[in-house]
């Protein structure tokens, strides 16, 4: 019951015609730019048969400092039964950098979203435990943002001279 990549993109375009902003391809991977409000619906839609994109390979964020929509969330989905991958991107504004959490669908989104929150300060609505993953409690700011000072350190204990 193979399904082609073209068919999936066609179905997506039909179902989410107003939410999909752009579809491009790079190095053989299809990239779909969506509105951030549509993320959960699209992920739910792709989980079902016959698409079965049941695996979230990665979830990360890119900081485009200076652009009007500063943050770009990137989601990599993989379909085990069709051996296909799809990349979704959604832009967020700096003053409203929140997006729906995928933890209700993918268990591994929990830590991936905690990492994105830790490093970029993106808030995931509906996340059960949105706490820093890598940096320690008391660390201020989000170190992978482009406006975080390059060599700024926040020691946990008193340093010697």
């Amino acid at each position: 019951m193979a399904i082609s990549k073209e068919k999936i993109l066609e179905d997506l375009k039909q179902k989410f015609s107003s939410e999909i902003l752009d579809i491009t391809a790079q190095f053989g991977d299809d990239i779909i730019l969506i509105k951030k409000e549509a993320l959960l619906d699209i992920a739910n839609f792709l989980m079902e048969d016959p698409y079965s994109f049941t695996m979230l390979l990665d979830l990360t964020c890119v900081d485009y400092l200076g652009e009007q929509q500063r943050f770009e969330m990137v989601y990599q989905f993989f379909s085990l039964s069709h051996k296909l991958r799809l990349r979704f991107k959604a832009r967020l504004q700096e003053n409203d950098c929140r997006i729906a959490s995928l933890t209700s669908i993918f268990k591994n989104a929990n830590w991936l979203e905690r990492e994105a929150y830790d490093m970029f300060g993106v808030h995931f609505t509906g996340h059960p435990y949105l706490r820093r993953l890598f940096m320690y409690d008391g660390f201020e700011g989000h170190p992978l943002r482009k406006d975080y000072p390059l060599r700024k350190q926040q020691p946990k204990i008193q340093l010697r001279k």
Partner: protein
């Protein structure tokens, strides 16, 4: 370092110093604090190919309370710094610290928000071993330097009055 012949007790104490240094330098119990890729290099130094046991420091301890020499092998992040400080504080005197590899010496290539720029920002260090990672010969050379340092250590404080 003060010349050991300055000792107040004369011949008896200098001989005692020398004997104590000799005993200590050939019975270095090590505690490897391994956090990164230099650990591979440490393993090859400590195992049979290069064999630290030839120099009397092959005995690895798995608690800092029984160790004399703390080998800090690898990158130390700010999140980890309190752990390293606790381990150092748990070691009993006499104790020596070796910074193993570029990251432990100076932070190495990681000049960023996460990494301590050299473990001497946290604890005092006796010997620095540069290299990314250091060759086993470099490590052995450094540890022999540490042995020389231990041999020359004075114990005049034993014969001085305490200042309170």
């Amino acid at each position: 370092m003060k010349n050991k012949k300055d000792g107040k007790g004369g011949f008896i104490t200098t001989t005692f110093n020398s004997m104590l240094g000799w005993g200590r330098k050939f019975s270095l119990f090590q505690y490897p604090f391994i956090t990164a890729c230099c650990g591979m290099e440490y393993m090859s130094v400590a195992c049979a190919h290069y064999d630290l046991d030839r120099f009397g420091m092959g005995w690895t301890r798995f608690t800092p309370r029984q160790a004399d020499m703390l080998l800090v092998v690898g990158t130390i992040s700010h999140k980890e710094a309190p752990v390293l400080k606790t381990v150092y504080d748990q070691m009993t005197e006499p104790k020596w610290v070796v910074a193993f590899g570029a990251c432990a010496v100076s932070g190495g290539i990681y000049d960023n928000y996460a990494v301590v720029q050299g473990i001497d920002r946290i604890i005092p260090v006796d010997v620095y071993i540069p290299g990314c990672p250091p060759r086993p010969e470099t490590v052995i050379n450094a540890l022999i330097k540490l042995q020389e340092k231990i041999q020359k250590e004075g114990h005049e404080w034993r014969f001085q009055k305490k200042k309170s």
